[in-house]
Symmetry: C2
Subunit: 317 residues, 2 copies
């Protein structure tokens, strides 16, 4: 299952509107088929793995990070039907699909065909790997990640606005990797005008993974950029699993004030800026007590001299 989840993880940022699923088929102790959701969402992971395994699927064990879909589409047959046809002996599913068109029906279809189905193996890791899709299914909007490069004292720039560079090369390379694994990047109009950012992925081999670009502005649309007029417009993004908000301060503050941030990535440089531009403005706090209990520190790691801090919003889902 770890292998299946890993295949799915590698497809993050290219599978939307579909989930980034991974699938592995094992026959006689050997992996005979591997698949992940393909760019744009089709073919599905299971279809890819079954095609690779061919006749060896029969009697095999199939691992998939998400329940196979139960609905036909103009883009292809339902994976649960493909599986019934391929006749593996056993299917191990990490997570049930919350999509109401499937939601347990895929599993039922396999069981009805006499296939043994186990659900729940690796569920937590699978949920983390598909957090964007699951957020969209639960809240009707993408998972929103806010990224900032900050000094020890939480500044994003000098008083002049200069922010090149707070963080070092390793941290910036990591940002490009995050971009590759998101479906859309958003900046505010101020950042757009000041920096004209390309927001593309500048990592060897991943140049084609540059995500869609969006601008938060009350003004006119800009060529090559999608437009959000307010943070609430994320509820209109039905084909985006993961949205990365890259700045600047006013945009970040607007998303935080509307409680529309699920994850924060801080690239913390070991520098003190002192007088400079703060990360955020007023985010709606009445007092310090209000600030507590909202964020949980996740795994951090060193990136050159900088450190990546990850914070996850604590929510009842």
């Amino acid at each position: 299952m770890a292998e299946a989840i890993g295949l799915g993880l590698a497809a993050r940022g290219r599978s939307a509107p579909n989930p980034n699923v991974g699938c592995v088929i094992v026959s006689d102790g050997e992996i005979v088929g591997r698949g992940a959701t393909q760019p744009g969402g089709r073919p599905h992971a299971e279809a890819v793995a079954l095609a690779e395994a061919g006749a060896r699927s029969k009697g095999a064990t199939l691992f998939t990070s998400l329940e196979p879909c139960a609905h036909d589409s103009e883009r292809g047959p339902a994976c649960s039907d493909l599986m019934v046809e391929a006749a593996p002996a056993r299917v191990i599913v990490a997570l049930q699909d919350p999509d109401p068109r499937t939601a347990g029906q895929g599993i039922e279809r396999l069981k009805a065909a006499g296939i043994t189905v186990d659900v729940g193996c690796g569920a937590a890791a699978a949920a983390e790997s598909m957090a964007g899709y699951l957020t969209r299914m639960t809240f009707g909007r993408p998972r929103i990640t806010l990224k900032l490069a900050l000094s020890i004292d939480g500044k994003i720039a000098m008083p002049s606005g200069t922010s090149k560079w707070i963080s070092g090369e390793d941290a910036r390379a990591h940002v490009h990797l995050e971009r590759a694994h998101t479906d859309m990047i958003l900046v505010g109009r101020g950042t757009y005008l000041a920096d004209a950012p390309r927001l593309d992925v500048r990592l060897p081999g991943l140049e084609d993974w540059s995500p869609r670009r969006a601008l938060l502005t009350r003004g006119d649309a800009v060529d090559g950029w999608e437009t959000l007029h307010s943070p609430q417009d994320v509820y209109r993004l039905h084909d985006v699993n993961d949205l990365l908000v890259e700045g600047g301060s006013a945009t970040a503050t607007a998303f935080l004030a509307e409680d529309l941030v699920d994850r924060i990535l801080i690239y913390r440089a070991p520098i003190i800026v002192g007088e400079g531009k703060s990360s955020f403005g007023y985010v709606g706090l009445e007092g310090i007590a209000d600030a507590h209990g909202r964020w949980r520190a996740g795994d951090g790691r060193a990136l050159g001299v900088d450190r990546l801090e990850v914070y996850e919003r604590v929510r009842e889902s």
Copy 2:
């Protein structure tokens, strides 16, 4: 040697003006004497360990984290003379003492008496354990540690000034431990007036370890508090190895602007404050490039939901 350094570490904050040395004597594979510098600096670690070992010192191996002193004092005889009298076969010294009254003469005196002496075992750990004393010997002032409780976005308080509490109980207990292991704590007049802080050690068993208190102020002295009129007055603190600067922002900024901070302890709470009081004001930077290369991130650790970040000033000594 690790045991000797550990004994010395436990004496940090009480040995000034003397170094916090640790000493262990081993005879026939058994520890027969242990010592650390006693409160106020006397007796020395070696004298304590030799007194415990008594006649068993003869022919034994003695580990000490700092070269034994070579100068008599009205407060006791030189440790190197005590050692010659006790006649261990071998003395293992982590670091040579930079005090010009010793500076290799303690080692020479042992060698002249026919004792085998090895220098350098555990030198880095010993230097870290006595960083305050070594800073004073090198720069003529205490090692200065700046402590702050900060939010993710580097704020120290709400716009109203309220800062109770940014960090949690575990972090606050750690602050009290740091206080116990410092010789003097300093705050600015603003913090003194606003908070009337006790700055004492509120940890069971360490209540007597509360350090001296100092106020940074251009105004009058306050009863029970020593006075520094400017950060440069640290060069007058000849009997302080470790100085802990606890705030507020103006005081911290003044020390940073004069490059008089050697170590920063950030207790980082997983909260976002947004609009609020920044950690520091203008610290003298011309641009972001100036800010780099000054601080090295040391070992961090989780303290409850908070995280301790340690930064050390990179200096040529």
